[in-house]
């Protein structure tokens, strides 16, 4: 194929929950060139019962722009047939969805790597901040960024050419 344009992708930042099955079907319906679907769903854990809710603050506009930038990098780097990224904001109780990445491709490694890459960048470069509200505390606490997440993101750095 002499296709020069890269695959389209969908990015949404929203308060509402998402439907993994419906989002997956949008990427696969009627096509027969998809060999691999990788979905990553991130959920709010209750931290052994201590957590009442997570509050997710974001930078409207920049959040969408940053995620789209990484999505563009992903479709240029891997042979994907589809890519959807949804990130929620607002107050999210334990057990609820926070983030969804779906990558589809003819090949399994491309789908795995693209989804893994996007999650590492969402963790460290997309303007979202989590505040934990615990059952036993009146004040919420901002979650601190983890060095391990930066190290995960650094795995994807291309070797420098100059």
């Amino acid at each position: 194929m002499s296709k020069t344009s890269t695959t389209d992708f969908t990015v949404r930042v929203q308060a509402e929950d998402f439907d993994v099955l419906a989002e997956t079907e949008i990427l696969t319906k009627g096509r027969k060139d998809v060999g691999a679907i990788v979905t990553f769903t991130g959920l709010c854990r209750d931290e052994g019962g201590a957590l009442e809710a997570l509050e997710l603050e974001h930078y409207p506009g920049m959040a969408e722009a940053q995620i789209s930038k990484f999505a563009q990098q992903a479709v240029e780097r891997w042979p994907l047939t589809g890519l959807t990224i949804i990130h929620r904001f607002g107050k999210i109780p334990p057990g609820d969805n926070i983030v969804l990445v779906i990558a589809t491709s003819p090949h399994r490694r491309a789908a795995f790597e693209a989804a893994d890459f996007l999650m590492d960048f969402l963790k460290t470069k997309a303007p979202f901040w989590k505040k934990e509200h615990l059952r036993e505390a009146s004040e919420g606490t901002w979650v601190e960024a983890k060095a391990a997440d930066d190290a995960d993101a650094a795995r994807w750095d291309a070797p420098k050419t100059k």
Partner: protein
């Protein structure tokens, strides 16, 4: 007539928003403030809340016109600058 400096919107997120007590404000670029680092120093001198927010400027992330920048970024022509802690999305 000499034009005055353009107004610039400043946005604060997470604990920077809480410590400054401000989610956004519009200022005119003050005399002597050239870079995002200069702006943090200038803001820190404003009052106790701002001083607390900017007490460790090396931990603060900066975006100019919604793109990540460093503290030596020159502000001229900036419409929007944002200050926030390291991101914890995903």
């Amino acid at each position: 007539m000499i034009p005055g400096p353009d107004p610039m919107k400043i946005r604060y997120f997470a604990w920077l928003r809480e410590r400054t007590g401000t989610s956004e404000e519009t200022i005119e670029l003050p005399e002597g403030v050239k870079t995002t680092g200069d702006l943090m120093s200038w803001l820190a001198a404003r009052d106790e809340g701002y001083a607390f927010a900017f007490e460790q400027p090396e931990t603060i992330r900066i975006a100019v016109n919604q793109e990540h920048v460093e503290e030596d970024h020159v502000l001229s022509g900036t419409e929007e600058v944002a200050f926030f802690p390291p991101m914890t999305g995903g």
